[in-house]
Amino acid sequence: MRQVIRYGLVIARRDFMAVVATPTFLLFLLTPFLMLGISVASGFGGAYLAKGTDDARVMIVIASAPDAERITAEDSAVRKRLYGHDGGPPPIRIIAPESDIEAQQSKLLGGKDAEVVAILHGTLERPIIVHRPDAAQNARFLALVAEEVLRTERLGQKSEQMLSKPDIREIHQNAPTKSRQQSTGSGAVVIMFMLTIMLASQAVGTLAEEKSNKVIEILAASVPLESVFFGKLIGLFGIALVFVAFWGTLAAVGLSIVPASAGLSSFTPVIGTPLFVIFAGCYFAMAFMLLGAIFLGVGAQASTMREIQMLSLPITLFQLIMFGVSMAAAGSPGSGVARFAQIFPFSSPFAMAARGATDPAIWPHLLALAWQMFWVAITIAVGAHFFRYGVLKSGVGPFTALGRLLRKRTPNGAKSIDKNVNSGKVQLIP
């Protein structure tokens, strides 16, 4: 074991330096800026698109001239009360009634100059409102305006005059709440998943370099293959740590300038922020190692970039399932799904990180970390075995190994019966 670690570190050092000491790493480090840029750009695009859509939407009130004036005044007053000066449902357009209301309504709904989402006609006492499926709220707004017109009239007041003088104050909730702690857990799952999938997936192609430039034979002759796998993972993890440290520092600086009034303290995990961060770091390491070991083991079987890409897809999908399970666990702590996600090795790091936000117990984390380490070792050993068998054409295949294992477990009596059956001495009765 000591040898595996020792030589693993030699390989890790080589891999780490080969990546970090290059200009391309800087580009990789700044990749999230590009992602942020894309998010901002698509946000602007989306906002423009939404604004354009909203601008085209209108509500129609088919009413006579006197009603139209009252409705317009009340619409303005209600909007001011509910939303301030801006916002609220689409604007109301008043149209004089025609002889055939049904036909007029159909014509308005089919009109191309504006998207009519709701139409009010009839009297104010018995308004008839039709609306599109996604505009129920708009219909209720029209009903409210009609109601307010009548109320204002009966009270004998002006539309904008209010009977009460509300004192509206903003308060900040700083004490941690359960729902916010769950949000912290979910946030941890999302961040860990994004980091893991982005950084660990690089493991899939790392052995391709050694295979293409034939260094693998030197490595295989010098050190145990487990060292090669372990070293590659540690090297990549070192790169991931540089990445996380850089962005973690930026995030910490960003959070430190957020004012206390923002209420971030209500998101404090139940085990405390420092311990939560430490555990999240450990779980990230485990998630990275587990996923990286799978990527590495599977990628090692591939000979070309095309094969590597094809092999990456099922692993990514598998990891997405783990993400979904972990998110479900974060959303329902203590449930059966949560327990499954915390025990199943490949979702355990995410689910346990989420658990840290809502459960104060420490010992399950220590147990989970040991459990996950055990699975990291198994995944590396299996990956190395497959590599030895699939690439170096040495050792036994997975099915042969399974067969041998099963034969070992077969009782002697059963073995001798099999032998007799095979030799024809015993006839099996159907």
Binding site: V10, E210, N213, V215, E217, I218, V223, L392
Partner: protein
């Protein structure tokens, strides 16, 4: 063939198959300590597979192996230097770093590796490329860098798979000198080749592998002595009449006769030729080279295999 401590490389009955094809069919090997040992064989004979099994890169399907006395080659890998047939270096690494890395893989400290790398590169005339990246080196230079990397930890056993291929004559000579100096240092060298010249010059002992089996084991002279000596005789006179006195395989070529020296030696034949008045204008007797012995053994194996197939 039993194992003894003075055999850094020992193997008995090694068998290895890839799918349905049996690449190695029971190889036995016993390399004396401090010797230069050649594994000769035609392409596809099973040399590389045998070396890989000896080094523990792959496991044999059957048979036993001992490397530096240990049944598990992994346990002694820090005492072994290996140059594979397919050369492999990281193109983005600097030459001295590549050598230090190979030393580190064999348990050496990085700093010590760099120091020795500088010395080794300097003595091999490659001091000027120490800080150059591998991708900028010529193929021959990169090959030498890799060789230096495999020797940097002063191994007790050096295994070289086709070390001369890809090198120009000057570098081939440099490599021969390097191998001899490593032997003088006390290391045991095992190398594979199908170029007989190098083997004939530097091997203390050798094995000829063909068809997955060892067909000959011994010294270079023993290999050569498997073939009878050849004579080249130039008579003073006599023309075609000389043929009557010469062995049946005698052929006229150039300015004289070529024939196999009879089993008892050439003395009696020389006396008869002189008595018959043909005289001796020239006579040379040569032992056939390793090349001839190799070709004869390989051809015999091919014939044997063809017979079995038929």
């Amino acid at each position: 063939m039993s194992f003894t401590d003075d055999r850094p490389v020992w193997a008995s009955g090694l068998i290895k198959s890839f799918g349905k094809s049996q690449a190695v069919k029971g190889v036995n090997l016993s390399v004396p300590k401090g010797s230069i040992y050649g594994v000769l064989g035609p392409n596809g004979a099973g040399k590389t597979t045998t070396l890989r099994m000896l080094l523990g890169i792959i496991d044999p399907d059957e048979g036993e192996r001992r490397l530096l006395g240990d049944a598990n080659p992994r346990h002694v890998s820090h005492r072994v230097g290996y140059l594979p047939e397919e050369r492999g270096l990281y193109p983005s690494m600097k030459a001295r770093e590549a050598i230090a890395f190979m030393g580190a893989l064999r348990g050496m400290d990085w700093a010590e590796g760099r120091k020795r790398a500088d010395e080794a590169l300097e003595s091999a005339g490659l001091g000027h490329v120490a800080h150059g990246k591998i991708r900028r080196l010529s193929k021959g230079m990169a090959q030498l860098v890799q060789l230096l990397g495999s020797l940097i930890h002063k191994p007790d056993l050096i295994v070289l798979d086709e070390p001369f291929s890809g090198l120009d004559p000057v570098n081939q000579e440099l490599l021969e000198r390097l191998i001899l100096s490593e032997r003088d240092r006390g290391a045991t060298i095992l190398f594979s080749t199908h170029v007989m010249g190098h083997a004939q010059r530097i091997c203390d002992r050798l094995s000829i592998i063909a068809g997955g089996k060892v067909r000959f084991e011994g010294t270079v002279d023993e290999a050569r002595s498997t073939l009878p000596m050849k004579a080249h005789y130039v008579p003073c006179s006599g023309g075609e009449e000389v043929r009557k006195l010469l062995p049946v395989d005698a052929e006229l070529g150039g300015n004289g006769w070529h024939f196999t020296v009879p089993e008892g030696g050439a003395e009696r034949l020389v006396v008869e030729l002189v008595k018959a008045g043909h005289g001796i204008a020239g006579l040379s007797i040569e032992r056939p080279g390793l090349h001839d012995a190799f070709v004869r053994i390989v051809n015999a194996v091919k014939a044997e295999e063809a017979e079995i197939t038929a």
